[in-house]
Amino acid sequence: MTILGIVFVGIAALACAAALLAILGIGQLALSGSGAIARDGLARGQVAPAWSLPDADGTLRSSPPGRPFQLIVFGDHSLRSFPSVVAGLRSLRDDPANADLEIVIVTAGDARLSQPALTTLGLDRIPVLTGSRALYARYNVRVMPFVIVVDAAGRVRASSLVNHDWQLAKLRRIAGLPLDSGDAAGVAGRAARQSQAAAV
């Protein structure tokens, strides 16, 4: 190989690296841009597709739910890449203020494949349902984890891509779900402090 040949290899490698970086940059922009994010999910107030799906034990779960609210998580074992979301889901599940809320995880494939990993993550007691790519398409979900909250009438209350627990909390407020215990305590505390201040 000649000296110029070696130089060309270096230059070409740099050009390829620059092209790869450009592709990554375009992908990142497309994923984080408002236009791209707004493309997914369902609009608030829209009637969500109804379904009836088996969980890993074979029990049928359905939407619209039997409870006032249903939080549908579109995801699978890849949730392990989002520890903050996992923590948020555990918190939602364990909070006694959420008696009206049913949480389900809908996978695009066989739920039995994802169930062990999700159990290891501490997401046991949250039904994992065997969905399909067709169902994802009906919900217009193309990236995971994606969360859609529906009410008992099957209407969408909130819909969002979720990467962090604070997004879950904000989604919950937008959906009009009851405040969790922490928030309720905070509200009660603020109210008490305000009444004390008023008395003084």
Binding site: M1, T2, I3, L4, G5, I6, V7, F8, V9, I11, A12, A13, A15, C16, A19, L20, A22, I23, L24, I26, L31, S32, G33, S34, A36, I37, A38, R39, D40, G41, L42, A43, R44, G45, Q46, V47, P49, F74, S78, L79, S81, A108, R133, Y136, A137, R138, N140, R142, V143, M144, P145, I148, R157, A158, S159, S160, L161, N163, K170, L171
Partner: protein, 201 residues
């Protein structure tokens, strides 16, 4: 020496661009075929536009890969120059006849339309191609088999990445294949806009 290095830089940049454009076009052949159909005199055969689109995408890939892995072959530089001149013609005709219509030069990776900026970019590529036609004597830019294979692999990697990104952005095939990038994906409350294309219900 510096002129030779400059020419090689132009050559490498153009080859990488061709590979990226070819890969992205392949991922959005249907969309690119719609653009190709604009330039056909008779639109009664939609299959012809698809064939033309596939041919252009494949040609760009082949030209990019060959140019990248064979820096000493001069006729490839002329072929790249001819392709870039073709891009200028397409950009000008597209701007004159279909201004504002998407050019899909990079498939779903780019939302650019036919317009003066597009003509400028094509002209810039042509200038680079002209500069790349003045390389040093071929015997000075000899590569071994390992070097050629390495460059070919790097070029194919670029094309494949462009294809994968174009497919994901164009048809939304991310779901089901893994998580979105946690560092970049954002958040949107529902109700802030209409649902995207492909909504079934």
């Amino acid at each position: 020496m510096s002129v030779a290095v400059l020419a090689l830089c132009c050559k490498a940049l153009l080859a990488a661009s061709l590979l990226m454009a070819g890969g992205a076009k392949l991922a959005d052949l249907r969309g690119f075929a719609a653009t190709a159909a604009l330039f056909l005199p008779d639109r009664r055969w939609p299959g012809l536009a698809s064939t033309m689109a596939a041919g252009v995408a494949g040609g760009e890939l082949a030209l990019g890969a060959a140019s990248l892995s064979n820096p000493g072959v001069r006729w490839l530089n002329l072929a790249v120059l001819a392709a870039c001149a073709g891009f200028v013609v397409v950009s000008v005709v597209g701007y004159l006849r279909y201004p504002g219509r998407p050019c899909r030069c990079f498939g779903s990776l780019s939302g650019r339309s036919f317009g003066p900026p597009g003509i400028g970019r094509a002209a810039l590529m042509t200038l680079l191609a002209v500069a790349a036609t003045a390389p040093p004597t071929p015997s000075l830019v000899q590569l071994g088999s390992a070097g050629r294979l390495g460059l070919l692999a790097a070029g194919l990697l670029v094309a494949w990445c462009a294809f994968a990104a174009g497919a994901a952005l164009g048809s939304g095939s991310i779901a089901g294949s893994g998580p979105a990038d946690s560092g970049t994906a954002g958040w949107r409350p529902a109700g802030s806009g209409a649902a995207g294309p492909g909504l079934a219900s």
